[in-house]
Symmetry: C2
Subunit: 402 residues, 2 copies
């Protein structure tokens, strides 16, 4: 193999995903000899992206292979997560560590583009201003709970804010003014990539990631690639019609969609915790993940309404999962966001529906798992998106030093 | 580009799919110069796979570019289509023409592997025995209406015959005794590939092919590749649960599956033509495609029961299609088998459900089409499978001369 941009990126990708690796391990993984690894590492070290060091605990042990370590403290991206009730910004280092983070509450409705961009820019600037001297910013990624046009980060449809064709990516880029492009992706798409790269989906190229909050999104990998379809808008599992007879109203305007039957509002309504009607439900004044967790905990404690709610919502989720198993013959289905909590409580209902509706041949190899990155799945996905340009061409990336 | 097995296969693939092409057209399509085309063509002609000739209608026109033409009459595959009520075998030439064919009725139920293999072998031997002298058989492909294990053609599940784990491919290979492997695929998978290669799906790498008879199968291409999933069993659209409340019983043992609500039995039952109860329905003694066409025609003529049946079944099919559009953001959805006839009659119901349930962004580019290869879609798909080894490595294929 020649020393090329592509092999530089491959080496960097290995240490980004796996952490420090010896030259010997890298040579074995890449199928090249150690002198090639030496040359590649030398270029990457010269660019300040990795450093070589003796592995810990090898003092006096002859001539240990040096390990190649990503410069996680210095090479960073800004990652944003625009979720249903909170905005998160983080400084994430090469190799994946979340080095610093800021959060802000987000009103659930009636928020315009300018307001959201303004809040995100404040969080982002704080992270930039407080980053250690010498930090090099190599990218910006953002996860958004809506349908995103690939390429320019246009929000084609953001149901719970009612956004249609809002130039989110371009506006965030302008507001941050860091001279770096902002890459935007759908939260569940990015979640799928993150779980595949460093979460519960590692080693599963045929992967379904389901992300729930108010909406339910999907990120589906087919042979290791995100299912984009014609315009990049594939994977809309949330609007699969599961209840064709008077199902719950959905934010999309239809009724009986998977997300209408299994999202946060459905769970809280079914549990009788809709005191604040729809958008700010929660019997104990709770909304969002806290409210969902409270229902799951109460169900575990035997509260009849909570038990019933979890069983009903889990049953609908099981139908959706069975349909997806038939369609995709996946190796793993991963539950993230509030579905992580719901799955924990409703696993029997989900398993029963899979047994009833998924073909035996289609489900014989599938595993059901909770997200491995917990509440940070989509944020980490945004960070991975931010690192993509660097990993594609490590010596020619745009960057911004502070 | 070097002259390689791969570029030989690429050139052969071009003339196989597009028919005779001039050296100039081939050079442009493959991005190589004409001397490379000359060398490749020379090798392929030496192997008897193509011939060069002056194009028709260019007499006296200076020095016309020779056209490269596949040896369609001489280089052939045996293609089998094991459908719900008939068995078809065909001699298909390189380039795709069906040169000869044999059909036999197939009882709908209670047929064991040995009986089906026996009938297919008779049809196949007839085609071999009556083929012109000098015919070179380069492959055998078979389309089966069930779930097929890639690699060895094992029928993992064939619902309407009740087959589970039957060694169909190996047994057909043995019974034919031609010294050629038999490649087997699911009928809708093969239909998708055939429509993409030379049918209504040409130019649509994100394609959904829906094939109906008693069952409803799907073949889904994502970025030009068949969606296989973990074991090759993806695309099982027929068992997507669309009617969760007491839907019609399905051959899979569940109820309310898409195929139970939209297949032949559902249509005939809804039209009141179930005199023979289920497996041999048909008010006028008809079953299969003829019965479906009769209902569609009667609906067009205003027969109330037929109108109602078409509307009801079309409505369920529309739900299924809307769900698939949300999941796959396809460029085209193609209706084949009896769904070709149903779509012709129920297009308004299908369009209405798509408008109601598919996200505007997901459906903005989708086209709905009838299969371009009519009733031969799955047979042509089987032939394409039979040609695959030749196209992968044109100078090293196994063959059988008669």
């Amino acid at each position: 193999m020649q020393k090329s941009r592509s092999s530089l990126g491959t080496l960097l990708h290995h240490v980004h995903v796996s952490g420090p690796l010896s030259r010997a391990e890298l040579a074995a993984r890449m199928g090249v000899n150690r002198s090639t690894i030496l040359a590649l590492t030398s270029d990457l070290a010269g660019a300040g992206l990795v450093r070589e060091e003796r592995p810990v605990g090898t003092l006096g042990a002859g001539r240990p292979s040096l390990v190649v370590r990503p410069e996680s403290e210095r090479i960073c991206v800004l990652a944003f997560d625009i979720a249903v009730d909170r905005l998160t910004a983080a400084r994430v280092g090469l190799g994946g560590p979340v080095l610093d983070r800021r959060e802000a509450a987000r009103p659930r409705a009636g928020v315009d583009l300018e307001t959201v961009i303004g809040k995100l820019a404040v969080l982002g600037r704080e992270l930039v201003d407080t980053a250690p001297p010498g930090t090099t910013w190599v990218g910006i990624g953002a996860s958004y709970c809506g349908m995103i046009r690939p390429g320019d980060g246009m929000v084609r449809y953001g149901p719970e804010l009612g956004w249609v064709d809002q130039a989110f990516g371009a506006e965030l880029e302008r507001a941050l003014g860091m001279g770096l492009p902002v890459a935007v992706g759908n939260e569940a798409h990015l979640g799928a990539m993150a779980e595949y790269a460093r979460g519960a989906g590692a080693g599963f190229p045929n992967l379904i990631y389901l992300h729930g909050d108010v909406g339910v999104g999907g990120g589906i990998l087919v042979g290791g690639e995100l299912l984009g379809g014609e315009g990049g808008y594939g994977c809309e599992v949330g609007h699969m019609l599961v209840n064709p007879f008077g199902g719950r109203p959905c934010l999309c305007g239809s009724r009986g969609c998977l997300e209408a039957e299994t999202g946060e509002y459905a769970l809280l309504a079914e549990a009788g915790r809709t005191g604040l009607v729809g958008r700010d439900a929660g019997g104990a004044g709770l909304i969002g993940r806290d409210a969902v967790r409270a229902v799951a905990e109460d169900a575990a404690g035997g509260d009849p309404a909570a038990v019933r709610a979890v069983a009903t919502i889990g049953d609908w989720l099981g139908i959706g999962v069975a349909n997806l198993i038939n369609l995709f013959n996946p190796g793993v289905v991963i539950f993230g966001g509030m579905l992580r909590d719901l799955y924990g409580a409703a696993a029997p209902q989900i398993a029963a529906r899979i047994a009833q509706h998924a073909m035996p041949v289609s489900r014989e190899r599938v595993e059901l798992r909770l997200s491995g990155l917990a509440d940070d799945t989509t944020l980490i996905g945004a960070a991975e998106l931010g690192f993509a340009a660097l990993l594609a061409d490590p010596l020619a990336f745009p960057c911004s030093r502070t």
